[in-house]
Symmetry: C2
Amino acid sequence: MKGPELLIQGARLWGGPRADLLVRGGRIAALGTGLDAGPDTERIDAAGCLALPGYVDAHAHVDKTLWGLPWQPHQAGPTLLDRIENERRVMKELRLSSELQSARLLRHMVARGTTHVRTHVDVGLDMGLAYLHGVQAMHAAHSEFIDLEIVAFPQTGVMIRPGTLDLLDQAVLAGAQVIGGIDPIGVDQDPKGQLNAIFAIAERRGCGIDIHLHDRGETGAMTIAMIAERTRTLGLKGRVAISHAFCLGGLEPERLEQMIELLLDNDIAIMSHGPVGGIPFPPVRLLAERGVRLFTGSDGVRDCWSPLNTGDMLERAYLIAYLNGLRDDPGLELALRMATYGGAQLMGAQDYGLEVGCAADLVLVPAECAAEAVALHPRPRWVLKRGRVVARDGRDLLPPLD
Amino acid sequence: MKGPELLIQGARLWGGPRADLLVRGGRIAALGTGLDAGPDTERIDAAGCLALPGYVDAHAHVDKTLWGLPWQPHQAGPTLLDRIENERRVMKELRLSSELQSARLLRHMVARGTTHVRTHVDVGLDMGLAYLHGVQAMHAAHSEFIDLEIVAFPQTGVMIRPGTLDLLDQAVLAGAQVIGGIDPIGVDQDPKGQLNAIFAIAERRGCGIDIHLHDRGETGAMTIAMIAERTRTLGLKGRVAISHAFCLGGLEPERLEQMIELLLDNDIAIMSHGPVGGIPFPPVRLLAERGVRLFTGSDGVRDCWSPLNTGDMLERAYLIAYLNGLRDDPGLELALRMATYGGAQLMGAQDYGLEVGCAADLVLVPAECAAEAVALHPRPRWVLKRGRVVARDGRDLLPPLD
């Protein structure tokens, strides 16, 4: 389903001049000044706006958001295991529909300019494949509004909960495009076991890998080395991502250099969202300068883990800049690339970008340049998905949910 | 000049029930459900909104903002002294009017809900009292829209630049309500000299003190001890504030406890805005639990120091929560108190708050409760200053400049 022909007039292009964009058949059909179009072509006066490619939220947890519910005060204790156990309890009590919850959050994400999402979806003994099926049903009803990729995610551990591994394999067979993992040492206390098992599924099913790694210091570094070794051995270069990788923020320079070499040799991508609470995080400017692929995401938006993430990827770029001290234009643009091109490349979005022929997945924000867009992180004036206006002035234009 | 009689209907009150607020003569005249008012009374339908007292930006630098200019890429090097020198150069080149610049920023602050500002204003050899006079002229034209307090601020140092001290004294005589200081060790290398001189002005002129302290670790801690000693000796308990106080984020627990004792004994307030770039910052939850007075502010909004501060105090509360890992409701409310009551108390705003008789300085935001307001930090629907609507849906209603 393609939107109408549309002429976006007088927007500035990220890194380029002021130009008109002609959108036809869901794609950018032409770019230039003073473009002409037929009298039936809809027009958008985008003077004062910057045109950006749609935001890519490449690390979300849409299946278990509390978005749209009455305010739920945060109840968990401070440790990772506290939060896992608290979430198990709350989710049992609330008995939410992951289809409905993910649809609620999706609308908000679209309103804030997101056109692509990679979401981790819990797969485990508590919910089996129910969350996966819920998110898939949501996406079936919303595929024209969002590109979605699903990671089968063992939130509560793999080896520590027998039966989970088989569920993960089933999840990939049922359509999850990526297999996830979580702290092979900190949660499972069996890094060899978890990593061998997950990589075996990736090899067998031909899917990508995206592992949550909260473990810090040498525990995290050792895990990265083990991930890199398996990536190399199984020929999965370019197919593996590590999310959070807090450990990269706390290593001695020499050990950090070893890690960077491993990431580059195996083309492993790193997700950093600029974590809450003053914990260490990967030094994104250094990693980017060395050529490490970087991406970002909202993480959990208003869920049992935290009420603090908002699902706004331009604000996410701002938080990354804020936490990393990126004040100059190259730094601010790096943060924005993580929230756009970085995630798009991770998701294999071939026709992503601001060039002729690309999908017309576009955000128009009131800003003079990309650096200002990050610094101010205004709400989008218009959001386009495949050439159709799907949000206007911070409100989505999707069909209402029941 | 007082606004009209106004009935705000159906708002939730911070920490209280849903209620109507009757505003008359610039004050909250009544609070309750089903309030009656005459047919000529203007009405605001605030269903779905939370009523908060106006935000207090109690650490700003409105005199040297670049707000309203074309985007200026950040150029400074990474150290404090790099930034001071870069700012001197840029400000000489740009030759800005502090009256115009502060008026531009003020409009934006009002649009985002701020009703009270304490601003540091540069006083020094480069500008003499020119910035002070500019900000005072701005305030004379805007006194009905904002409560403003001025700190005479020696950005480039005191003892290191002979002549500055005399200018600071003149600034206080010319109307600055507070005397400032800056890193007596790191910038001046003469803590005894700077602190004795500044405290002497405070004693002589009867003004408050607010000292920028970026120095970290034991250098900062020693400075706090010296400030506390002079506060006690001169009987200035409750009149002194320390801004930034990064050192409180990096001390051993025992030394931190000593600092807390000194702050409590002398009722010294601490400003933290949640600094950029992963540097240490005061542990606000711990300090609040011990009873230390806390407040916050935007710091420099889009100036030579950083493009990253936005002048939105609800977003500032969010950043404080984010950086300090405040996820539960008490933590989120603490961050909001720093951006409201904490600053109001610092500024001696007697009639500040949500009770009958208080000035009708109010913000109505779409949120269910204070914790949600911080987590989502939406733009205000309405902002009232002394009973008059001064902003609506994120846009100020002030008379245009020029």
